[in-house]
């Protein structure tokens, strides 16, 4: 039996040079230092993305994207299909965890200054992937066609309408008409299951390929320790730790989905008064809350509301271009200014999210994540003995 396996391997090797790949993989290493644990967050995000792909495809087997049937089909999935409640709950929980780990990944990469040359494109594709993830979240939110989603989408697309000059067009483009209706649902479905996945696949492939080509970046200040310690082999040491993390992630996901299945709520009714507390997904909360404190009014024909919207758009653009703005880092390897900006932005985002929920839970989540990362870092920084 092993002989047959060897022969298949040999046959494939002659054609696609598996030995070459194995050679490359065998030489791949990961630097070991104080912050090695941060190298696992990208893989964790990827894991939740893969869960999204699988559970999303499964949901497509029963979901019907039309205003008349969407809510009922989700209800059917939740109540009649075997394990349907589990698949849907996993899809929503995994979405939240994916965005969360994408944020954690971004924050750690930002503070470890891993965007410095030659990894500018890796950073930019990563930021794009975060934006794509948020677009996935926004478009997926509407698909169950319930009250909450309906009004949140109304508000969300209306915000786009406040942008000067292009706002009107952008709002119509998002809604597929003048108001949120059945046409919006088909359109969001198309984005959610076809357009965004297609774009994401390409960007994600580029992102992962670049990580393979360029390897892991050692943060400034850790170079000495990384040089002193023997780097960890990717195969099998790092990969096994990665898989262990994925197993934990799967356990967390299954627990959340089983203990707290996602609610469905009431069917969307465009002629019913808006819900008392319509709120966006938590990762839009800080922007939503910022818009809420801006008073109504106009200046020079531009609504006040447009100012923070344009501000966030600009912030997104700056985030994308960080590697090119942080000139001092490329020259001297240090950039306290950008560290400071990062800390302020983080405090603002967490603070506004907590304010939006009138709750300290977001702060606790951040502290818990930091504590957990620290705890795990003790277990992951050591090079195994041979």
């Amino acid at each position: 039996m092993f002989e047959a396996g060897d022969r298949v391997y040999g046959w494939l090797d002659d054609r696609i040079s598996l030995s070459g790949l194995r050679e490359v993989a065998a030489h791949k290493t990961v630097p070991v230092h104080r912050y090695t644990v941060c190298y696992y967050f990208g893989g964790m995000t990827l894991f939740f993305f893969l869960v999204q792909v699988v559970s999303g495809i499964l949901l497509m087997l029963y979901y019907r994207p039309s205003a008349d049937e969407a809510f009922e089909s989700v209800e059917f999935i939740m109540t009649t299909v075997s394990f349907g409640w589990l698949i849907r709950s996993i899809h929503s929980w995994s979405a939240h965890l994916m965005i969360f780990f994408a944020f954690v990944h971004l924050v750690t990469v930002y503070f470890m200054k891993a965007y410095r040359p030659p990894r500018e494109i890796t950073w930019m594709t990563g930021v794009l992937l975060l934006f794509l993830g948020m677009a996935f979240g926004f478009s997926g939110y509407l698909l169950p066609w319930n009250q909450l989603a309906f009004f949140a989408t109304n508000v969300g697309t209306d915000i786009a309408g406040a942008v000067p000059f292009v706002g009107e067009w952008a709002m119509r483009f998002l809604r597929g008409g003048d108001r949120v209706a059945g046409g919006t649902l088909s359109r969001f479905y198309g984005w959610h299951v076809a357009i965004l996945p297609a774009i994401t696949t390409v960007v994600l492939a580029g992102h992962i390929l670049l990580v393979q080509i360029l390897g892991m970046s050692t943060p400034p200040g850790q170079e000495k320790e990384a040089k002193r310690r023997r780097p960890m082999k990717f195969l099998p040491d790092f990969l096994l730790r990665d898989l262990f993390g994925w197993t934990l992630a799967l356990a967390l996901l299954a627990t959340l989905a089983a203990m707290f299945p996602w609610e469905l709520g009431d069917k969307a009714d465009p002629f019913a008064p808006a819900y008392k507390d319509i709120k966006p997904e938590w990762y839009f909360m800080f922007m939503f809350e910022t818009l809420k404190v801006v008073p109504g009014g106009q200046i020079l024909g531009i609504e006040y509301e447009a100012i923070p919207i344009l501000g966030f758009a600009l912030a997104g653009l700056l985030l994308l271009l960080v590697p090119f703005l942080d000139r001092r880092l490329a020259d001297s390897g240090r950039s306290p200014l950008f560290t400071g900006i990062g800390v302020l932005a983080l405090i603002y985002i967490v603070g506004m999210t907590a304010w939006g929920y009138r709750s300290l839970v977001p702060v606790y989540v951040v502290l818990l994540t930091a504590a957990l990362a620290f705890f795990l870092s003790i277990g992951t920084r050591r090079t195994p003995r041979r």
Binding site: V81, S82, F83, I87
Partner: protein, 166 residues
């Protein structure tokens, strides 16, 4: 000359406790991995199998009045018997017959040809006579027969056709 023996073979033969422990741990790990994948694939498989949705059983339907223009002109019409299609054939003024409209060959919907007095399936040229018997082409079985009653409601008005599962 004695053949070269690997360390592993030596250990297996002497029953080195470390080696046995390792094999046991590997076996345990394999079982856990199998359990993990089982607990993933079982729900997915169950999810993909379509659930049984009970359909309301229909035993009788009203198929419209006897003076239905479609029925008069073409000599037949397809009516919905619950979720099943049923073909209602007007043979003569007081002779109506009804059969399951699904061809017993490959599930196409049959039609009635007035001039040849045959129920005919367009897909593969299957033919049934006016008792629903398969008389030509590939159909393996006769069509299921339904009984037809005429119910007169108000005097002077055309009767209603009632199709009943027999």
């Amino acid at each position: 000359m004695e053949p070269v023996r690997s360390v592993r073979e030596d250990e297996l033969e002497t029953g080195n406790p470390d080696q046995l422990r390792r094999r046991f741990v590997n076996w345990l790990l394999g079982c856990s991995v199998a359990g993990l994948f089982g607990s993933i694939f079982y729900p997915v498989f169950r999810y993909m199998s379509p659930p049984e949705v009970p359909e309301a059983t229909t035993n009788q339907i009203e198929a419209g009045p006897t003076n239905d223009p479609e029925l008069l002109e073409r000599g037949y019409k397809i009516v919905r018997f619950g979720s099943e299609p049923v073909i209602l054939v007007r043979v003569a003024e007081d002779d109506y017959r009804a059969f399951a409209a699904t061809c017993t060959h490959l599930d196409c919907i049959v039609e009635y040809q007035k001039d040849t007095e045959r129920i005919w399936c367009n897909c593969h040229n299957g033919e049934y006579d006016l008792s629903g018997r398969n008389v030509g082409g590939p159909p393996p079985r006769p069509l299921e027969t339904f009984s037809v009653h005429l119910a007169s409601t108000t005097p002077g008005q055309p009767s209603n056709i009632v199709v009943v599962r027999s």
